[in-house]
Amino acid sequence: MATPLESPITFTNVGKTKWWQSGFFASQTGYVLLALVALFVVMNFASPYFLTEGNMQNVAKNFSFIAIATLGVTFVIITGGIDLSVGSVMCFSAMITSMVMTQISTPGMPGAEWFVHLADDGKTVIANMPGLILLVSILAGLGVALIVGLVNGFCIAVLGLSPFVTTLGMLSIVRGLGYVVSNGRGSFPSGPEADYLYALTSGVVFGMPAPFIYLVVLAVAMAIVLHHTGFGRHVFAVGGNEKAAALTGIPVVRVKIEIYVICALAAGLQGIIISGWLGSAPANMATSYELNVIAAAVIGGANLAGGAGGPLGAIVGCVLLEVIRNGLVLAQINSYWQQTLVGVIIIAAVLVDRLRSRMA
């Protein structure tokens, strides 16, 4: 018989991890945030215009335009999946939102009588119930995103198709549908409530661009969901070890479908916000944005192998991309360098993390 260890529990053999070796400080997100701060300092010296309020607002607005979708993709990446269809979903949701808005705001169109009537002068269109048109159009846009997310999730979680292939197919399908429904022309919001949409998407609240505020609210919500709910715990577990998750009774299929739906909804919302700012939803809107979104998530520390990532990293990645773009312009460097630089940063960020885990 082996002698059982009779000692009470002590930690004589097991060292305690130092605070700087674990958690945020040891994560890729931490390093990239450090790099970002350094970049701010350098830019401040390189261009006096960089830290002005106007430019900071500009930066905040621009990165908010991809950051909400990046939050969604980060969910998917944490489970070890990928979603390439976000760019197409952005466009399609925006397009459906403005098409529905136009349709139900035009007297004489089928269904429009529930939403609008003509004023006594016979020309001015008046909403029957203020806000209803806006609400219905946004819900329509998010509705198509929801459907795309469900189809992605079903194909990946239930049918077992690879996330890359499924969402690559969906990228093409949804982009194609956008061209079909608008006949290649895209669409733009019109009617009595189009101005509400513009106000919601490109307005300024307390000196901050509205999209930035949505982003902060959603990021905080995401942090709480990921770290303080059973669902968030299961998302990390599926990404860390899917088989273990299934054996311990986690509903893996449901979790996977849910994260693809969340991702598509985030992309849809992002698309609607962009189209509000642009004032239209052209059929080629947000083309190849999926690459920026995934790049931002990966730079911020989301691991494509699954199991790691978070909202702070997603935002840090987006800010870094935008500051580089902005910085190149301010430094009067040929802005065509941007793409090359972004590529270098993606590899560098992952490389630093790799070197660190080798040394640890």
Binding site: I224, F236, G239
Partner: protein, 254 residues
């Protein structure tokens, strides 16, 4: 050793368990009794029917013939969760741990403790860490609830996987090759973990190829060969040589 007072009361009782996969007879007429606090070694060569038997007990699939009684009552498991509900826990060979999560998170995986806050339920991190520390203490394992499993030794990982089985006060823990892939020192740790379970009255079925481990911790050894139980002996009445010959078929039965 089987103590006289619990000899009469079996936690698990199998009667004539058989399993056919199409024309292949994987298991035939297996009878087995396991008492509370008893450690039973289940040995046999590859294809002897060990894992089929374990999977039937764990609820992965139903037996084709025979009856399973647990705590004296006949049971039928449609899914592994049903087996877990009556008190059967399995420590899988690969431990089923998520490396990116903490020890406490892994212990409670799929069974997280939550606190209600209005319509929302949030993870109760404190309660889970406290309970996990308690369980590691019971298992005498130097494992911190907040450490990531990624950074742990093989023995600690085993402790996390075994602590999981203690959450629900399981009555039977089946361990599939727990010592197959770890260092000598860690094997000692795992064997002492099995002792802890035994002390607390938990029945343990140890599926192993390693003769020294089985003879170190088991009260009884059951040898399977070609889908049948060939021997079921108290550890004091047999020897590694005899068990080896039973496994290989050099001796037909004992």
């Amino acid at each position: 050793m089987v103590t006289p007072h619990d000899a009469g009361l079996a936690v698990l009782e199998l009667k004539g368990i058989g399993k056919d996969f199409g024309a292949i007879r994987a298991l035939h007429g297996v009878d087995l009794r396991v008492s509370p606090g008893e450690v039973v070694g289940l040995m046999g060569d590859n294809g002897a029917g060990k894992s089929t038997l374990v999977k039937i007990i764990a609820g992965n699939f139903p037996p084709s013939h025979g009856e399973i009684r647990f705590d004296g009552k006949p049971v039928h498991f449609a899914r592994p969760i049903d087996a877990r509900a009556v008190g059967i826990e399995v420590v899988y060979q690969d431990l089923a741990l998520a490396d990116n999560l903490t020890a406490a998170a892994n212990v409670f995986l799929g069974r997280e403790l939550k606190r209600k806050l209005g319509p929302f339920a949030f993870l109760d991190h404190k309660a889970m860490a406290a309970r996990a520390l308690e369980l590691f203490g019971e298992l005498r394992s130097e494992t911190r609830p907040h450490d990531l499993v990624k950074q742990m030794s093989g023995g600690q990982r085993q402790a996390v996987a075994i602590a999981r089985t203690r959450l629900s006060n399981a009555k039977l823990v089946m361990m599939d090759e727990p010592t197959a892939a770890i260092s000598v020192r860690q094997v000692e740790q795992v064997l002492s973990l099995i002792h802890r379970l035994k002390e607390q009255g938990v029945a343990v079925m140890l599926i192993s190829h390693r003769m020294p481990d089985v003879f170190a911790v088991c009260d009884r050894v059951v040898v399977m060969r070609r889908g049948e139980k060939r021997a079921d002996k108290a550890i004091g009445d047999t020897s590694p040589e005899e068990v080896t010959s039973l496994i290989t078929g050099a001796r037909e039965a004992a």
